[in-house]
């Protein structure tokens, strides 16, 4: 059964290669292939989650034992994100039928396959390859909306991403030159001796900037508002909700396993704080819904970066809680933005015409700000207590900035909400809903329902997440699982 996990990556790739051919002969059959593959992937992963023994395991690709070959490392955290990838891929599947459908769906399958790989892979260079595949299929999907602005956004994103991949490659080369291995477990074993120095720090910074491009890290996030405003909303939701979290997950893994220097966490903390400040202020000034969401996404990813910088298990818990919460909320909000479209001024009095959408917006906004019964509160509460427990003054700054950001967030979100509930309907009230209007509202309600379900079950889910965080934090377990050797051998 465990070996079948490989199918969640292999089958979408196979489907992507064959989709253009199949669609040429039979469109009716072709349109079901993608959803069927992703549904099967969900089934495999869900089965593993339900019937697995909760212990992490490792799969050697090609049958070569891990430090020599490439392996997939499957713990609860990886499984959780892989499942979210396949599920969100299914939810945000590009159904639209036109002459570009085969290529668009093939690119979407590639995006899902590579995102799954990003969650599971246990090899540094393999992560880089999957990361590039995520990038290239994203470029294609953004440019597929074929407006001039989308092309410009894509090329600017491509160039920034190119800088990132050169830096990542350079960092990988430095690590390989120093240690002679690329397997994460093997690196984790060697890191205390060989990478705990300036060279390791330089390699980490290069990789951080490189992968940070996708994780919306502060100096390399200029692509975010442009891309989210020009790409199709469903794609924006997938990118903001999921892909950014996967890049974050990779950074978290590297930090937990390999790079233990205090400088590394400090850099992440500072960049996270700067990201929060810049993102939230820009969101406050934004005048259309999509850009507001894009900027606030930068801010929230900054908050998650602050959580990544926290040292112990509770920090990992905060990262997981904030990430999953943001995934749910941002996907829903982008779907609402797709439903409404356009400038914030057009939203005036909208709640009267479409009460469900208005209610959903308020629900998401409340959870995002952190209203007590909603899950957003628990995520933020974990972070605050953890930040307050630190002695380093930098964490105090982080705490202050975080609280300030929450105030700003509340101010701009409720400005929008107030606008929606204004009674005076102006003459240009017009729901700018494209053909997918009903579908996106349905999807948004799905996320709203998910949010309420989480609210009801918040305490068992919190305990489950705690177990996931504890497992992810256990470096010895990782090394032992991958390299199959007794615990005592590590110094």
């Amino acid at each position: 059964m465990n070996e079948h996990l490989m199918l969640t990556i292999a089958l979408p790739l196979l489907g992507a290669f064959l989709l253009p051919i199949i669609m040429r002969s039979s469109l009716a059959m072709g349109v079901w292939i993608g959803p069927a593959i992703l549904g099967y992937g969900c089934w495999i992963l869900g089965n593993l989650w339900l019937h697995g023994n909760g212990q992490p395991f490792s799969i050697a690709i090609g049958g070569f034992a891990p430090p020599i070959g490439i392996n997939l490392y499957v713990d609860a955290m990886a499984l959780l994100f892989a499942f979210a990838t396949q599920l969100l891929g299914l939810i945000f599947w590009p159904f639209r039928l036109d002459q570009d459908t085969p290529k668009r769906q093939a690119l979407m399958l590639l995006l899902v396959a590579s995102s799954t790989g990003l969650a599971l892979s246990g090899d540094l260079f393999n992560l880089y390859v999957f990361y590039e595949l995520v990038a290239v299929s994203t470029f294609g999907l953004i440019a597929a909306s074929s407006s001039g602005a989308a092309y410009v956004a894509t090329i600017r994103y491509l160039i920034l991403s190119g800088i990132g991949s050169v830096l990542t490659l350079f960092g990988i080369a430095l690590i390989y030159a120093q240690t002679g291995t690329l397997n994460l477990a093997h690196l984790a074993q060697l890191a205390p001796d060989q990478l705990n120095n300036d060279l390791g720090l330089a390699a980490f910074l290069a990789i951080l900037i490189g992968i940070g491009v996708k994780a919306e890290l502060f100096p390399v996030n200029t692509w975010v508002p442009e891309v989210y405003a020009t790409a199709a909303s469903r794609l924006s939701a997938f990118l903001a909700g999921l892909v950014s979290k996967l890049a974050m997950l990779v950074i978290l893994r590297l930090l937990l396993l390999i790079f233990h220097q205090p400088e590394a966490t400090q850099v992440i903390l500072i960049l996270g704080i700067l990201g929060v400040i810049s993102g939230e202020f820009a969101a406050w000034r934004a005048k259309d819904m999509r850009r507001m969401l894009a900027f606030s996404s930068i801010g929230q990813l900054g908050v998650i970066f602050i959580a990544v910088a926290l040292p112990d298990e509770r920090g990992v818990l905060a990262v997981l809680a904030l990430s999953l919460h943001h995934m749910l909320i941002k996907s829903g909000l982008f779907m609402l933005a797709d439903h409404w479209g356009g400038s914030l001024d057009r939203l005036r009095g909208l709640a009267a015409t479409s009460p469900l959408a208005g209610g959903l917006f308020v629900l998401f906004a409340l959870s995002l700000v952190g209203m007590p019964p909603l899950p957003g509160f628990w995520a933020k509460f974990t972070l605050i207590t953890e930040l307050a427990g630190q002695t380093d003054p930098l964490y105090m700054i982080g705490l202050l900035v975080f609280l300030l950001a929450t105030v700003i967030e509340a101010s701009y979100l409720f400005r929008v909400a107030a606008k929606m509930y204004q009674t005076k309907p102006t003459e240009n009230v017009r729901i700018n809903a494209p053909d997918s209007g009903g579908l996106s509202l349905t999807t948004a309600s799905l996320f709203g329902a998910g949010l309420i379900a989480v609210t009801v079950m918040v305490s068992p889910l919190g305990e489950a997440l705690q177990a996931v965080a504890a497992q992810a934090q256990d470096v010895d377990l990782y090394i032992q699982t991958v390299l199959q050797q007794p615990l005592g051998e590590r110094q």
Binding site: E132, G148, V152, A153, S165, L174, E226, M289, G342, S343
Partner: protein
């Protein structure tokens, strides 16, 4: 302290120089085609660095020529990775070039600032937040340029 001029040092400096020149070009150039060229240079530097990571001065190429006792070989793993990286690089480059062709058709410019202004104008126009529409929210840092002919034309060309 001037280290001896060894082969490794020369190669490392070349790799570093190519990456630095490429990154400088990526950050500084205004013409987008030039930035794509700079990306090519930077990638070349990174590839050289990767091969260098597995280079041994006392070894032969990693191909088995005789049975029995093997001579010392250079590390094959970085070479395999560089093969991958080179092909990835050319794919991205071709994609970049095809996007540039389309941008040139729409906007008739490849200057990065002009491109960005036209893009902002188009985004604002699509969202309906051009300057004269809303006076309520504070203006953004960037002044929104008037919608030029090509941007309007580009919008008209949308499907």
């Amino acid at each position: 302290m001037i280290p001896d001029l060894t082969l490794e040092l020369i190669l490392y400096s070349t790799a570093l120089g190519l990456v630095s020149i490429g990154l400088a070009g990526l950050v500084l150039s205004r013409h987008s085609f030039r930035r794509v060229l700079a990306l090519v240079i930077a990638e070349a530097g990174a590839n050289l660095m990767l091969v260098l990571a597995g280079y041994r001065w006392d070894a032969v190429a990693p191909i088995v020529t005789t049975l029995g006792k093997q001579p010392q070989m250079v590390d094959p793993v970085p070479q395999a990775m560089v093969l991958t990286a080179i092909v990835i690089g050319v794919g991205i480059q071709a994609l970049a070039v095809s996007i540039l062709i389309r941008i040139h058709q729409r906007y008739h410019t490849l200057d990065r600032n002009e491109m960005a202004e036209l893009m902002d104008a188009e985004i604002a126009a699509t969202a309906g937040t051009a300057r004269d529409v809303s006076q309520e929210s504070p203006l953004g840092e960037r002044p929104i340029p008037p919608i030029t002919g090509s941007a309007v034309q580009a919008r008209g060309g949308r499907s």
